[in-house]
Symmetry: C2
Subunit: 197 residues, 2 copies
């Protein structure tokens, strides 16, 4: 089909980022290579360097794309009325995301990627702009909201990556079990901070 043959003519940059994202999902961040991303996109190994000066730049763009996708997932949560329910749901969403993409806040907020990358910084901020108001609604206080969010995030991230390594698999083989565990921690923390429940 013409569509397929011209795929990388339309937007090779985006196609490479998609390929990179898939690579990260399959084998982790360190397995990302410019050559393999090019191979999967159907172009030569040199082609990507027109769009990304170095491997690191491709990785930055991939992290930014991941942040956008995560923000889109998290944005869906706002249907629930109780902020504690919403926060707990973001834990589930986050766990599913990390398990699916083999990347999360560790990639999106990686110091080494953020140097001089405004797109990534903005994409990361967009994620926080979804989470912070929820936490703030629970605590009523900015400092406490950050504290709650920090704990909530740490737990969700820990659950996700330990699931990926296999540590959690004996007790909780399914991703949803893991997501539920993270949600429970979130709820335990939010209940404390909200002085209700």
């Amino acid at each position: 089909m013409a569509t397929r043959a011209k795929y990388h003519h339309g937007d090779l940059r985006a196609a490479l980022v998609d390929a990179a994202l898939a690579l990260v999902a399959e084998q982790g961040v360190d397995a990302l290579s410019v050559a393999e991303a090019a191979r999967r996109t159907g172009v030569s190994a040199a082609a990507p360097y027109r769009h990304f000066p170095t491997r690191l730049d491709l990785l930055k763009a991939t992290a930014a794309r991941a942040a956008e996708l995560l923000a889109a997932e998290l944005a869906k949560v706002n249907e629930l009325s109780d902020p504690r329910d919403r926060l707990a749901e973001t834990a589930r969403v986050y766990v599913r995301f990390v398990v699916r993409h083999h990347a999360g806040f560790d990639l999106i907020f990686d110091e080494r990627l953020r140097v001089g990358d405004q797109a990534l910084a903005e994409a990361g901020r967009a994620v926080m702009d979804i989470l912070l108001p929820i936490a703030l609604e629970i605590t009523g206080d900015a400092r406490a909201a950050l504290d709650l969010l920090e704990k909530h995030t740490a737990a969700a991230h820990g659950y996700a990556v330990l699931h990926l390594s296999g540590f959690m698999r004996r007790r909780a083989p399914a991703v949803e079990d893991i997501a539920e565990g993270a949600a429970e921690v979130s709820r335990a923390l939010a209940t404390r901070d909200g002085r209700s429940g």
Copy 2:
């Protein structure tokens, strides 16, 4: 000195594992290479293959060594009388360990490393043999103890790895701040489960 010149004659295997451990601590698990471990130990690139058939086997031994070191650190906690204090302290110890070694349960319990490696399996079990009794003392119930331990571990691990990526650094620049956050989550969870606080 004779000691230095004969270093790798005494126990090259252990020396390689030490070098591997240092490498992981500096650059992460994926940066571990047999060649570099050999270089640092002062032997040729071929020498390690007498002791480890493949890179993966060196990594397995490294994970086992990490588990032993972690168990030794955790074992020191048993001075405190209140089990909630002890559990919270293991969170601090764990965070410090992961930040220092760039590895924790994700490495020690990695599925891919555990296949057919009894030493690693035993070292991992030794770690759990320290933590489980503490959790059991808090909950009184085996199922609840596993659940508490899972949440406690996820939070501590999440805190540690997110600190390493840089995510936590703006709010909590020091490792001890991170360790404290993990300890607080542990305490929040334990208080719930122990129905006292």
